[in-house]
Symmetry: C2
């Protein structure tokens, strides 16, 4: 049976050779310390997180005496995650964290997330909620909640969705009424659904961030405010007291992430639920977006991380399993499938780590904020979808065994799928990408990043003549598609624009990923030319292969996406189903 | 909640207007009787089969006191399926069946299969096993087993796979030793795995077709023979007697088709398992292929049928669910997704029904046998894969609800996936397609069907100028790819050939499906020109849309598949993982 394995060499290559994170003076990390942290994290994930993956899926979340109980095996893993300092990694020092370069923090998060996504959502959402408290909370919030969250005693959630308000958050019905004589406090009333980690026995208290409308709030998203609503009220001494009238009558039965409790939560059934306003009134959506943007990147990482692990496990399987008198890997169709899986998973990794690194770069250059905005829907949408596809291929390469639960391959397919849906469906990401991130700023961010891309491809060595050709064609095709979309937008043919967004997002994603793999291939090429040898050279050669495979197998498809876009002059609304 | 719905109008359009099955004099069915049978079948499926779909998935197969128990709800459905004559539909009269045009029989099978694939495997494999008995069994077999199978008392299976012999059947270890003094009978010994319907309480006895090697059998597939091995030995009077030493120690826990028992079967642990040789010794593989070819078409149908149902249910959901103050269907991205799903599902249907119809045509023209051979791997591989993709889109269009088990959408994803693996993985189908079905007969069948395709596209009206252009480009690209593959084969660069098979299969599939949708669009176009009106006209217009959407959204991709093939001159075996 295949054992846990990560692609350490490639992660470190990205961090140290492509992104040069150790050169960021803010952290003062040298190459050796980046490596040390990554290896330590990998060991922890291998020993404590990965062994829970299949078991926690099989056991799933249970409702026992009205309480939500997570699989027992997660208790120890979660506890150690905090105790050994992995939760604190990448969090700022003022609240007790251990700052490290953002890309290193992301690499570590990716390891633990890939090894058990369902579990990772508990500390993941907690971190997101804490991040909002840290950024917009007042001293009361910071002093009351953050220390208990940092040490793993309390968890956190984000409560947006209601049954009539899924993608359309602005349609929510939950209300918040000021409590007279209790400044900042409101009575919260409403029912939220699809609340990940909504209840669990992993934490003593759960601190919910709840979107609700105050009496003066207008209809739509602009009238919504955000509230901190603890599951249990706090006593004077800060310990947990009586119930805050937050109940979980049930949770969803889902395709995957069985160990993650996706709860229905009732707030204020007994009119006794109290929440504290966080940030300004009516700024709920934008404050929630602090958390949501992080969650969107995490969605992409869910695809990237699980795909990477699925690839590593499958690589072992096809190298061992013999059919027709030779190992599976010697069958050309399987070999090609594996090369494509690797190119895609490493491509996604290079995008995720590049994007994470932008958070550090953005401290000194505003334009990187725009890059993050532009790349967030790409990371979320493309990596969740392609991660799913890689997992499907992992099942396929395993044959009948891939379909059986025992090998854990089909679990990747089931677990990844949700990432294409939650935190804004991929369709919504595409609209965000084209309308808000491109058309709204008149293509400024897109043009700026395109210039960097052109610079790279102009520097491409002659060892990559074919790839340069495909790349140029893909870029030209995407410019044609963008021109088409821009013209339709100018003519107010908004349906034509909207029905093209998803293809344009995918097309742009292919180009961006090919660009990141191109950068890696160029570094690898230089290092080989400079005399790299032995296992280093072998690894560097795989980086060149990744780029070649991506160009011939994936990038080429982006051209047909462009052709699909520009060939449709009919508004699909005029077609009947 | 969405209710069961089939695309009756499109099925009848295919049968009566495109394939003209009522003109086949062998059956003497007029248009009205084709319609009547289809409608009756649809009612049965709606009332008896569909209601078991989600329940049987949730309950799953159980092992109780060493016996395999299927979900209770399947008992009545399965019984009625036989009693009401649906099992007998399409089976020849000499064994008590009700012959109908093959395409009509396929359309009916598709309805019941889509409504509960896991259940359908019990009568489906039974039918396959019976078909082998009918075609190559001697009178003893025919008289002893077929009547009890026809009336639903006994079931059947196919037993190929062993733990070291998955795709590589020739590697099997099961043995058969002649029993002296009992002519035709052998002692069977061995362990088979992944045996669908291997045991169940749906039938009193299970008649296994088992591949095993006789003492004189050579290594590999050519030394394998086929045996009829009943689960229970038969008494003199034909009733079930003692156990035939066939036991089921366990079954697999799987991603989907939870109601289908995927069994480990031990034959002859006590050296008391007796099997009867069916067909000639050493001809086991070719006789099993009678069943396997049917099963391969059924795999394709599993994709096609479930995708069609998933589409119909999703159509209802997106027409009802309101987000952002309008039904989902009014959002261009969702509309496009639905149009693509419909074009693909109807495209698959048109391929499946066309291929089924060839069985009737082949009685008078040998070339159609070659068409069936050529199209079998396309049906199996492309429809299982694209059916899966449609199901994934159905989940996506449902948003969070699609991920919850309650709506039954994620079940389609889980249930369809197996069809890309069993009965020969899709990778193996691709090798069969290129090596056996094209290169081996020097492209005869491919050329012959291509001529029909050219004839259609030459007749294409000027209403389809854009589509004609895409179609020509796709055909030209596929010819270039075939030329590339042919040259590599000539040069004995077999790895280059083998690593291109799957893409070439997909590319050919796109062209074939586009051709079938083109034929439909042309018929629809003529009928509209001839004055069709009202709801008929509305339907006919959707057939034109299907073809247009297929061309602009899917066929265009086949061109990039061709580009991928011809751009790779490296043998991937030279690349390291």
């Amino acid at each position: 049976m295949a054992v846990y394995k990560s692609d350490q060499q490639d992660i470190l290559f990205n961090l140290n050779d492509v992104l040069n994170v150790s050169q960021n003076e803010k952290y003062g990390f040298d190459i050796a310390s980046v490596k040390e942290i990554l290896i330590e994290c990998d060991k922890f994930v291998e020993n404590e997180i990965y062994p829970t993956r299949i078991e926690s899926d099989e056991v799933g979340v249970k409702m026992v005496d009205g309480k939500v109980i997570v699989p027992e095996c997660l208790q120890k893993a979660n506890k150690l995650f905090y105790e050994m300092g992995w939760y604190a990694l990448g969090i700022s020092e003022d609240i007790g964290g251990s700052p490290v370069p953002e890309a290193l923090s992301a690499a570590c998060r990716s390891l633990s997330l890939g090894a058990n996504t369902a579990w990772s959502m508990y500390p993941g959402l907690t971190k997101g909620a804490m991040s909002v408290m840290h950024k917009v909370g007042d001293d009361y919030i910071k002093n009351t909640y953050i220390p208990k969250i940092m040490d793993g005693t309390w968890g956190g959630t984000m409560c947006l969705t209601e049954s009539g308000a899924g993608s359309d958050v602005g349609n929510l019905k939950s209300t918040a009424k000021p409590i007279s004589g209790k400044d900042g406090w409101y009575k919260i009333k409403g029912t939220k659904i699809f609340i990940s980690s909504g209840e669990s026995d992993l934490y003593e208290n759960n601190i919910h961030l709840v979107l609700a409308r105050t009496p003066e709030g207008d209809a739509g998203t602009k009238g919504i405010s955000l509230f901190v609503v603890p599951r249990f009220k706090l006593n004077e001494d800060g310990t947990c007291g009586e119930s805050n009238d937050v109940t979980c009558p049930s949770f969803e039965h889902k395709m995957g992430i069985h160990a993650s409790a996706t709860c229905v939560l009732n707030f204020g059934d007994e009119d006794n639920c109290e929440g504290y306003l966080i940030g300004k009134e009516f700024e709920g959506m934008q404050n929630m977006f602090i958390m949501m943007n992080e969650a969107r990147l995490d969605c992409g990482m869910q695809g990237e991380a699980q795909a990477n692990l699925a690839y590593e496990l499958t690589k072992q399987y096809v190298t061992e399993r013999v059919q027709f008198r030779t190992e599976l890997i010697n069958h050309p169709d399987i070999k090609k499938m594996m090369l494509k899986m690797r190119a895609m998973t490493r491509g996604m990794r290079s995008l995720i780590l590049y994007t994470s690194n932008l958070f550090d770069l953005a401290e000194n250059d505003e334009k990187y904020h725009d890059y993050i905005g532009l790349l967030t829907p790409i990371c979320k949408s493309f990596c969740s979808e392609q991660g799913f596809n890689v997992a499907v291929d992992a099942v396929q390469a395993h044959g009948g065994y891939g379909y059986c639960t025992e090998y854990g391959m089909e679990q990747f397919v089931r677990d990844i799928k949700i990432a294409t849906i939650y935190e804004g469906t991929n369709g919504i990401q595409a609209v965000d990408f084209v309308l808000r991130k491109i058309l709204k700023d008149e293509g400024k961010a897109l043009r700026s990043i395109s210039e960097e891309i052109f610079k790279s491809s102009n520097n491409l060595s002659d060892a990559f003549t074919f790839e340069r050709g495909v790349f140029s064609k893909a870029v030209a095709a995407s410019q044609e598609a963008m021109g088409f979309i821009g013209k339709k937008a100018q003519n107010k043919d908004m349906n034509l624009v909207l029905q093209s967004c998803k293809d344009f997002l995918d097309l742009s994603s292919h180009i961006i990923i090919a660009w990141r793999l191109m950068e890696s291939a160029m570094v690898a090429h230089e290092q080989i030319e400079a005399g790299a040898s032995g296992s280093d050279k072998e690894f560097l050669e795989t980086k060149i292969v990744d780029f070649k495979i991506y160009c011939s197998q994936y990038l080429v498809q982006s051209i047909s996406l462009a052709k699909s876009i520009v060939s449709v002059e009919d508004d699909f609304a005029t077609y009947s189903l």
